[in-house]
C-alpha cells in the first residue's frame, strides 16, 4: 500500500500539477466564483432585504446553496481534470516510455487518479474559510459539513475513475473528455429528470402501484442525495413510491463504489496490451 501511495508517478504528477500557474489560477477562480455567490447571497438577505437581518435559517439556506454550487463545480471540474490523464500522455508521446518502466499498471492508474483528486481536495479545503461564514451565523452542525465533504469525495472519486477509464480506453483526450462530461451530465441531470418523471407517473392516482425506477435513478443522482442529507422528506417520498425502504444514501454509496471499482479495474487491465499472442507459435 505504501508503494502505491508513495511512488514516482504520484510524485511526478503532484509536482508537475502544482508547479504550473494554471493550477493556482484554477483555485483562485474557483474561490472567486464560490465567494461571489456567498457574498451575493448575504447581500440579497441583508442589504437588499427589508429585514436586513441574517438569521440561522438563512445561514442554513446559504450552506445548502454553497453545497449545491460546490457540487456543480465538482461535477464540472472532475471530468476536465481526469479525462486526459492517460490519453494526454499518449498524445504527448510520453506514455510508451512510462509503460516500458517496471511500474505496475495499478500503480500508474492509482497515481493518476489520486493526484487529480488531490487537486480537487485542495480546492474544497481552500473553500473552508467561506463555510466559516455559515458557522458564524449558526444553523449548521459540523457533522453535516463533514458528511457533505465526505459525499463530495465519493462523487469526485467516482467521476474521476470514469474519466481515467475513458482516458485509458480512448486515444484522443477531446473525445474522452466529451464522453466523461456526458456521463457526469447524465448522473447530474439525466437521472434527476428520470426520477422526476417517475415520481410524477407514480403520483397519478390511476397508476396504482409502486415502481423501483425512481429509486434507482434517484440513488444515482448526487443532487438528490445532497438534498436528502439536508431534508428527510425526499428520501421517504422516494422510498414510499418505490416500495423500497433501504437507505437511499447507502444505495448511493454502494452504486458509486461499484462504478469506481469497475472503472479502475477496466483502466488497469487495458492500460497495457495483453501480451499473450492470439495464436500459438
Amino acid at each position: 500500500m505504501r508503494s502505491l501511495l508513495i511512488n514516482p508517478v504520484l510524485n511526478k504528477e503532484i509536482k508537475l500539477r502544482f508547479r504550473s500557474v494554471k493550477s493556482f489560477l484554477g483555485v483562485f477562480f474557483y474561490l472567486f466564483a464560490l465567494g461571489g455567490i456567498a457574498i451575493g447571497f448575504m447581500l440579497i438577505n441583508t442589504v437588499f432585504s427589508a429585514t436586513a437581518m441574517f438569521r440561522p435559517e438563512q445561514s442554513r439556506m446559504m450552506f445548502m446553496v454553497l453545497s449545491f454550487v460546490q457540487m456543480g463545480l465538482i461535477l464540472f471540474m472532475t471530468p476536465g481534470l481526469t479525462s486526459g490523464v492517460i490519453s494526454g500522455e499518449r498524445e504527448r508521446q510520453t506514455l510508451n516510455i512510462l509503460l516500458t518502466t517496471p511500474q505496475s499498471s495499478t500503480s500508474i492508474i492509482f497515481s493518476k487518479l489520486i493526484s487529480s483528486i488531490a487537486y480537487l481536495v485542495l480546492m474544497i479545503v481552500s473553500s473552508l474559510p467561506l463555510y466559516s461564514i455559515v458557522f458564524l451565523f449558526g444553523g449548521v452542525s459540523p457533522s453535516l459539513l463533514l458528511t457533505t465533504f465526505g459525499f463530495y469525495f465519493i462523487v469526485m472519486v467516482t467521476i474521476g475513475s470514469v474519466g481515467v477509464m475513458f482516458s485509458t480506453l480512448i486515444r484522443k483526450t477531446i473525445i474522452s473528455t466529451i464522453i466523461t462530461y456526458g456521463v457526469a451530465l447524465f448522473l447530474a441531470g439525466g437521472t434527476a429528470f428520470l426520477t422526476v418523471i417517475g415520481m410524477e407517473l407514480l403520483a397519478n392516482p390511476s397508476f396504482n402501484q409502486t415502481s423501483i425506477m425512481p429509486y434507482l435513478t434517484g440513488m444515482m443522482n448526487p443532487f438528490i442525495i445532497l438534498i436528502s442529507l439536508f431534508e428527510d422528506g425526499i428520501t421517504s417520498e422516494l422510498q414510499n413510491r418505490s416500495g423500497i425502504q433501504f437507505s437511499l444514501v447507502t444505495s448511493f454509496i454502494i452504486s458509486y463504489m461499484f462504478i469506481t471499482i469497475l472503472s479502475l479495474v477496466i483502466s488497469i487491465k487495458r492500460l497495457r496490451p495483453n501480451m499473450k499472442s492470439k495464436k500459438g507459435m
Binding site: N7, P8, V9, N11, K12, K15, L16, R19, S20, R92, Q93, T94, N96, I97, L98, L99, T100, T101, P102, Q103, R272, P273, N274, M275, K276, S277, K278, K279, G280, M281
Partner: protein, 312 residues
C-alpha cells in the same frame, strides 16, 4: 540475448510483420534497416512489451516478452522513434523520475544521474527545463534515460532521426561508447551507412519480412552479383552500347548526362567473367579509357534490397 521466433503482427488483413526470425547474440550491435512502414518499429514495440504479437514470440535475455513482460522491462532500455518529454521537469528531475520508476534508491540516483549526463554531454544543462533543450539534446537525454537502470539490451528506434550532422556525430560517438561498454544494441536508422562501422550485423526488413541478415561485409558480398560498372571511352560510344547490349550478363545500361563518354551498367557475372568482358571489349576495338566497379556502400545495399532484388 534477443531472439524472435516466427514473430507476426497483423492489423486486420494487413501484415505488418511476417514470421520474423532473428537471433542477436550478447554484445552485438545489430542495425535494422528498412523503409518507412517496413515493420521496424512494430518489431521494436513488441520487444519493448508495448505491442502484443498476433503469433510467434520474442525473447529478451531469455525472458519471453509475451509471458514475462515485467522481467523483460527490467532488462531493456527503450528509445522510441517519436517521444515526448515532461515539459515542466528540469533535466535532473526528468532522469530522477525514471530512476525512481526503476526502483533505484535516491542515494544511488544522486551519483548515477551526473554520470549519465556526463556520458551524453549534458552536464551543463542539468538545471535546464527539458522543454528548453534542443532536439538533439532531448534525444541524448532520452538515451540517458534509457540507460538509467543499466540495462543489458538497448532498443533504439531511429535515435538519430531529425538531427543535424553535428548532433548525429555526437550521437554516434555515444553509441560507440555504449558498444564498448558491452551493451547489446538493436538500432534502426536512416543513417545506417554512417553507423556501418559500429554495427556488427545488419538485418534488412521490407514489407514485414526479413530479406537479408548478416555481417555488413557478407551482405555486400551477396550484392556482388549485382555490381555496377562504370566505363569511360575515348570514342565510339554508340558501338560500345551495341556491344554491351549483346552481352547476356549486362543490363540497365545508362549514359551519363554530364559526361557523355561514360556508361554505367549492371553486371551479374563473377570476377572472371568481368575480366573476360573487358578483354573482349578491347579485342573488338573499343577505346576503353577506364573500367571500374562502383563501390557499393550500405546505403546502396539498402536501396538495392528494398527495390526487390533477389539474393543468390
Amino acid at each position: 540475448m534477443i531472439e524472435t521466433i516466427n514473430l507476426t503482427k497483423k492489423y486486420g488483413s494487413f501484415t505488418a510483420l511476417d514470421s520474423l526470425n532473428l537471433k542477436i547474440e550478447k554484445g552485438t550491435v545489430f542495425g535494422f534497416v528498412g523503409h518507412n512502414g517496413a515493420g521496424k518499429s512494430t518489431t521494436f514495440s513488441i520487444l519493448a512489451t508495448l505491442l502484443a504479437p498476433t503469433s510467434g514470440t520474442a525473447f529478451v535475455n531469455g525472458y519471453d516478452v509475451t509471458k514475462d513482460p515485467k522481467k523483460v522491462r527490467n532488462h531493456i532500455g527503450y528509445m522510441p522513434d517519436f517521444f515526448g518529454v515532461y515539459d515542466q521537469f528540469k533535466t535532473v528531475e526528468y532522469l530522477d523520475f525514471y530512476g525512481a520508476s526503476y526502483g533505484i534508491p535516491p542515494s544511488e540516483r544522486e551519483v548515477l544521474i551526473p554520470q549519465l549526463l556526463e556520458l551524453v554531454n549534458l552536464s551543463n544543462k542539468k538545471d535546464t527545463y527539458v522543454d528548453l533543450l534542443s532536439r538533439g539534446m532531448k534525444q541524448r537525454l532520452c538515451l540517458a534515460r534509457s540507460l538509467i537502470h543499466d540495462p543489458e539490451v538497448l532498443i533504439l528506434d531511429e535515435p538519430a532521426s531529425g538531427l543535424d550532422p553535428r548532433a548525429r556525430i555526437e550521437m554516434r560517438e555515444i553509441l560507440k561508447e555504449l558498444k564498448n561498454m558491452g551493451k547489446t544494441i538493436i538500432i534502426s536508422s536512416h543513417i545506417l551507412p554512417e553507423l556501418a562501422e559500429m554495427c556488427d550485423e545488419i538485418g534488412v526488413i521490407t514489407n514485414g519480412k526479413l530479406v537479408a541478415s548478416g555481417t555488413v561485409s557478407s551482405i555486400q558480398q551477396q550484392l556482388q552479383a549485382h555490381k555496377m560498372i562504370n566505363v569511360k571511352l575515348a570514342s565510339s560510344i554508340e558501338q560500345a552500347i551495341a556491344f554491351l547490349e549483346d552481352r547476356p550478363l549486362v543490363s540497365a545500361i545508362t549514359r551519363h548526362e554530364k559526361n557523355e563518354n561514360t556508361l554505367t551498367f549492371a553486371f551479374s557475372g563473377n570476377d572472371e567473367e568481368q575480366v573476360e568482358l573487358l578483354k573482349i571489349a578491347i579485342e573488338q576495338g573499343l577505346s576503353v579509357l577506364s573500367f571500374s566497379q562502383e563501390e557499393s556502400n550500405l546505403e546502396d545495399v539498402f536501396l538495392e534490397i528494398t527495390k526487390g532484388v533477389e539474393f543468390s
